[in-house]
Amino acid sequence: MTERVTFSPITRLSGLLSAEATVENGRIIDANTSSTMFRGYEWIMCNRKITDAVYLTQRVCGICSLAHGAVSSYLLDQVFDNDISENAQYLRNIMYAADFLQNHIRHFYLFSLPDFVVMPNKPPFLNQNLTDARLNAQDNQRLVNNYFEAIKASQKSHEILVLFGGKAPHQHSFVHGGVAVAPTADKINRALALLSDITEFVRGCMIPDTELISSVYGDYYKIGITPGRLLSFGLFRFGNKNEEVIWRSGVLNENKLSIPDLSLIHEDITHSWYEVNRDITSQPCLEPAPFKPGAYSWIKSVKYAHNFFEVGPLARMVINGFYRGSTSTMDRIYARTLETSLIVQLMKDWLTQLIPGPPPIEQKSKIVRERVIAVTDAMRGTLLHSAILENEQIKEYNIITPTVWNFSPKDQYGNRGPVESALIGTEIPSNDMLFTILGRIIRSFDPCLACATHVLDANHKKSVVF
């Protein structure tokens, strides 16, 4: 028996996502994931002053806003050949880490938890319909309580970011040349106090709660497995030219680890709502084509060396040797919590390295490079910004976000991206469990569709590297 089902809306994530799956004899045999929102940020970025990029690109995404601000600052640091002072390096990474904690805590508790825990039958939890609830009443209640505690812990994470960044989301002080806010004793002290509360929450709630869910739902170590190709651009940049990373970059393919070569990244629009405008009077460029036959997503397919790659906390943890496991739903959830616990420690170390002094920022004004590319890992995985400038103006600005890697639609040969691969082959023991299972697998990738619809490649090149 074959049935085609529509899973829409897929709630509890950033942005709008739908999926279609074909279920045959209790097994998923085909799946399309569809991003249904397009803002056209590639057009918005063009013909603006390059120094607008940090604040403008942050507005691509609300939950990982600082990731765009950070990589865009690295890009501008190259444009002006800035030197980043040591205090600025620490401050930048403290702020970046604060946004990571915010993201990971919110994802685990607000988005993922209702996939495993029975929430009170009150708004906003009505119609939860969790068809596979396994926790005993006492554990269940504890995790429900921690949902509400997580709201406070994640708010404190953003308080640290605001302390140094001016506001959040869309902070102001982490820009090219350094950080505009002075590290002073009162701020360091306040941040340490907030971090201590967050650390207590991560160690006292998030880690044991993850352990509990991963043991009670241990079968999800065998569900939602991707082909195991992992990619990271490295995380937490240090060095006066942003040249060092605390967590290394890497391409892991068939157990071989290598250094990413950005020239091997390619995009494909076979199943995406874009087409190449071949107007002979102008350069070939991409245009949105919402009625294109066969297309099913605003996300483009992106590949590295002709293969799809999974990105995210799991990729970082495996590539850096902090975690050994498979590439399943529960591995992804576990790795995200593991990463959270490592970040609280790093952040504490960095806060104690700050030396009180003036705002650590020095912005040079002469443009020395007009073709630039900058990368980092964001909360959900690899993030790339690249730009071509002319007279301080942006001619072209490209962004490839993590969700584009994970939620790539099929390529021209019918190969599937990581999420679609993870869905294929999944057993659906009974019809009423279908959406519960799909939701668990999909959310383990921490999708962010606000980001993903802004793949910027207006001039549709084969390679994203200029």
Binding site: S18, T36, M37, R48, K49, T51, S65, V181, Q363
Partner: protein
């Protein structure tokens, strides 16, 4: 007579502003509501924006977001927060819109693309129909008691409608033929949003400025209350980001931006952009971001045509 019937009867009366009874009844009813612990039914639809406003909402401190869910609003539909998913979520929306017709507050987070009948934003789809933000907001907007546009994209188009705006995105008020309460900001300060919801619950419709925003939060310019106003008055201007002087020289939009950031600040009063030694970029404005870019260019030179009445410092623009 049922409580609900009585309240709605009174409310109908109140729509006649000349009724002397209404003036006495309104506060009494609202007081009653406060005491009975009634909550505000809310349907929250996310359209085209970055999702920053729901993240900023989670930064509300007193009440925290959990308490907002428990004590202030009944959040019946929200793509970000609801436990329901797929067809269960759609059924809940249909139920809520019917059950609370004329009573619920519609929160729209994001701009509405209208090109090609709004196909650039699909809220959800069923086997035979894709529901665009355009049709959903029109439908729900016709049933709601209040419509709140959350964030600058929803209020005025914002970054989503920035030039060249190829999706022809618009603010909610441009697609609905009714009053929309605009809570602008990129993102909103959570107090502006939670404060507006609380006002609706406890005291009804708040006083609005000519852009449809609660004057409580947007009534004065950032410039008017800025801690660095004394530097401006002495014409002591910042040379670079990180300086302690007035940020007008580095593009500050404070003189023509209505918002209470200098007083309220962000997340437990921890900081705000000017205190962080950077300019205000005018994110609550109708013309954000195009009217604010280039961000670091002084206001009179940003967009000469539009800002020509701002020839230099020392000129107060609005209140």
């Amino acid at each position: 007579m049922q409580q609900k019937q009585f309240v709605s009867l009174c409310e109908n009366w109140l729509k006649n502003p000349r009724s002397p009874l209404s003036k006495k009844l309104l506060p009494a009813i609202e007081q009653y509501r406060l005491k009975t612990g009634e909550k505000l039914p809310v349907i929250w639809v996310e359209t085209s924006d970055s999702g920053d406003n729901n993240i900023s909402f989670l930064n509300t401190s007193a009440p925290d977001a959990g308490r907002v869910f428990r004590k202030i609003i009944d959040l019946l539909y929200s793509n970000t927060f609801m436990a329901a998913q797929g067809p269960d979520a759609i059924r809940l929306l249909q139920y809520a819109a019917r059950q609370y017709q004329g009573q619920f507050t519609l929160v729209v987070e994001g701009a509405i693309p209208i090109k090609d009948n709004g196909v650039y934003n699909i809220i959800f789809k069923t086997r035979d129909h894709s529901y665009t933000a355009l049709e959903m907001v029109k439908w729900l907007g016709s049933l709601a008691k209040y419509v709140v546009a959350l964030g600058t994209c929803a209020s005025f188009g914002g970054p989503t409608a920035a030039r060249p705006n190829i999706t022809e995105s618009k603010g909610v008020r441009d697609i609905l033929d009714r009053e929309v309460i605009n809570v602008s900001g990129c993102p909103i300060n959570p107090d502006w949003f939670v404060g507006t919801l609380a006002h609706l619950l406890m005291f009804g419709r708040p006083e609005l400025d000519d852009l449809g925003r609660p004057t409580l939060f947007y009534g004065f310019t950032v410039h008017r209350h800025c801690q660095r106003r004394s530097y401006f008055d002495r014409q002591e201007f910042a040379q670079e980001l990180g300086d302690k002087e007035c940020m007008f020289s580095l593009g500050c939009m404070g003189p023509r931006t209505g918002a209470d950031c200098p007083y309220r600040q962000w997340v437990e009063g921890a900081n705000w952009p000017v205190r962080a030694n950077t300019p205000c970029i005018g994110c609550t404005n109708k013309d954000f971001p195009d009217g604010s870019t280039p961000f670091f260019t002084p206001l009179p030179e940003k967009n000469p045509e539009q800002n020509q009445n701002l020839s230099g410092p020392k000129k107060e623009v609005s209140r």
